[in-house]
């Protein structure tokens, strides 16, 4: 993984020092909250319902064991012994005390981490595919470009005060696990007819109050031109994006208002101007230098089948179930990708305790994992597991409550923190996720239902990605009472689509019964091998509405 150079390390330390001074001025009364707010937001520090919340950047979701251990230690020392992994692969601490935040930033700097650009109207944490470097289907490791984009966009003087926040995601696989179509810029690494690797660039995706899928703005951008092309998009947005209305300030609104053709024309014009200067060309040797940080580990030469694994699958049904859902094919024979579910039945999606963090770091050491990945679906991934070690890993995950066999199933629910923590929320998300997971906890039933993505947000800002859930749930405030609307037919994957609101909402008890009815409708209508989403797309909303609202 990428390692800080002297400049990076010094800068992050100095930034923590600088924030220490700002906090001291706030605590002494020299700064009011209004004066302090833009300074704290530059360091990912929000004010939420119960406390300050600190959002820690995890570039493209990659963490070393040392970093995992440090995060666990910080959770224990400065917070309440747990953290919350988010849909942008970050980690949030929900109980930090302002006087201690500078110390947290210094401790993060010790392990090459920070909170810079996790808030504010700038380019946020670049996200990517959690199977990067391990998947057989990818063209190359998407984290190489992600890191280059991270470096280009970090403290970019021209783009530190954009009209609104800006999110970029990168994938290199035909199966999109990075949800690129719901990002301000989505980048797909592709190959052209001549066999050259380049980039298909999408712009204007995003959820929130006005959801849009991204549209293609560049069909094949050459490697050396990618930064110039991204710079062109950001320049067009920075100049033409609306600053008069926060709800219309995202690039998706600009693209919607001027149209993708005009957007392409503007970007192409700017791109040509930038390219003429030659300043932003990406040299091959620099690309190679960054790529070296993401060199694959020294894989052993192993047979692809493992007798140890096959025997354990035969002898232990629980393990077999876990393998069925949480283990995926690896590009190297004898290896596999293992997903650690942070969705225990009845637990809080994405939460990870400091004890679990410590244990995961130990498991990384035991099983030779130099890094672990955070997924946008709020799980963790061991990317390079030897197949023969999978049973031993699973045995160690079980007592840690990290072995739930539900990846991609109905209980693998995305949920934002919601009104239990978030100042913006209108309704709670976590208890709804917990109640649905308990209702559908029977594993045989989950397997029978197959891939089914439920995504829950506690407000219109859509941190829980409800627009792209096969079943999306949006919590709203209805005359002071929590109410939950249902959307059907969304997808954040390569078959991206936005869900449509089905009808009137339900209270916090009724929503679980409503999901049960939707599932019943699906099972009565599905044809061979159809997922919930496939059935919905084939039959439309009518039969679901009929069952849900029948009197």
């Amino acid at each position: 993984m990428y390692r800080y150079d002297e400049f990076d390390a010094a800068f992050v330390r100095e930034r923590a020092d600088q924030f220490r001074g700002q906090v001291a001025r706030r605590l002494s009364g020299e700064l009011t909250e209004d004066e302090f707010k833009p300074l704290r937001l530059m360091n990912g520090l929000y004010l939420q319902l119960h406390s300050y919340m600190l959002r820690i950047a995890i570039p493209y979701g990659t963490l070393s064991a040392r970093q995992v251990r440090k995060l666990g230690a910080i959770e224990r020392k400065y917070d309440r012994g747990y953290g919350h992994f988010t849909t942008r692969q970050n980690l949030q601490l929900h109980w930090v005390q302002l006087p201690q935040v500078p110390d947290i930033l210094h401790e993060l700097a010790e392990v090459e981490m920070h909170c810079i650009q996790t808030s504010g109207n700038c380019v946020r944490n670049v996200t990517s595919d959690q199977f990067a470097g391990a998947s057989a289907e990818e063209l190359e490791d998407p984290r190489i470009l992600s890191e280059i984009v991270r470096q280009w966009s970090s403290l970019h003087p021209e783009f530190s005060f954009l009209p609104r926040k800006f999110k970029i995601a990168v994938t290199a696989s035909p199966h999109d696990r990075a949800a690129i179509m719901i990002h301000d810029i989505g980048i797909a690494i592709v190959k052209n007819a001549a066999g050259e690797i380049g980039y298909r660039v999408y712009v204007g995706g995003g959820l929130g109050r006005s959801p849009f899928l991204a549209q293609e703005v560049g069909s094949f951008v050459a490697r050396e031109d990618i930064l110039a092309f991204l710079e062109a998009i950001l320049r067009v947005y920075n100049e033409a994006g609306r600053r008069d209305n926060i709800h219309k300030a995202r690039v998706k609104i600009l693209v919607h208002q001027i149209g993708i053709e005009d957007m392409r024309r503007r970007v192409e014009k700017e791109f040509e101007e930038i390219r003429k200067t030659g300043v932003l060309g990406l040299p091959a040797d620099e690309m190679a230098r960054i790529a070296a940080y993401f060199a694959p580990p020294a894989f052993e030469s192993l047979p692809d089948t493992s007798p140890e694994l096959e025997r354990a699958i035969r002898e232990n049904a629980d393990f077999a179930n876990w393998v069925k859902t949480n283990v995926h094919a690896h590009k190297e024979p004898g290896y596999a990708i293992a997903t650690i579910s942070l969705k225990p039945i009845g637990g809080t999606p994405g939460d990870c305790s400091s004890d679990q963090m410590d244990a995961i770091a130990d498991l990384m050491d035991i099983f030779g994992q130099a890094e672990i990945r955070v997924t946008h679906e709020q799980n963790l991934v061991m990317p390079h597991m030897r197949k023969k070690d999978l049973y031993a890993l699973w045995q160690k995950l079980v007592p840690l409550e990290l072995a739930t066999a539900n990846y991609g199933l109905i209980t693998d629910i995305i949920a934002c923190p919601g009104l239990d923590y978030c100042d913006l929320a209108n309704a709670r998300s976590i208890p709804i996720a917990q109640a649905i997971a308990k209702r559908f906890s029977d594993l045989d039933r989950q397997h029978d239902l197959g891939e089914l993505k439920i995504k829950i947000s506690g407000c219109i800002n859509a941190c829980g990605h409800h627009h792209v859930g096969h079943i999306g749930i949006l919590g709203v405030d209805r005359k002071g009472v929590e109410n939950y609307q249902i959307l059907l037919g969304g997808s954040g994957a390569e078959d991206a689509s936005l869900g449509e609101i089905l009808g009137p909402g339900f209270d916090d008890r009724g929503i679980v019964d409503a999901v049960e009815k939707l599932i019943g409708t699906y099972t009565s209508l599905r044809q061979n091998g159809e997922r919930f989403l496939d059935t919905y797309r084939r039959v439309g909303a009518a039969p679901f509405k009929e069952q849900l609202y029948a009197r």
Binding site: G29, L47, H50, T348, D420, Y421, A425, R428, G480, E482
Partner: protein
């Protein structure tokens, strides 16, 4: 606010319960008590 003991105060609806004002809306109930999914945290745990 001047003593820096309170940050970002705002007005919200209350009702009287046993002669004491208690919040009406869920938001302020949760803010006053703590997360409903972690009863060991927040003021409710004091």
């Amino acid at each position: 606010v001047r003593k820096r003991e309170v940050v970002a105060p705002y007005l919200f609806d209350v009702r009287l319960h046993d002669g004491r004002p208690v919040p009406v809306k869920v938001r302020e109930v949760i803010r006053a008590n703590g997360p409903t999914v972690r009863l060991d945290l927040g003021k409710q745990a004091d």
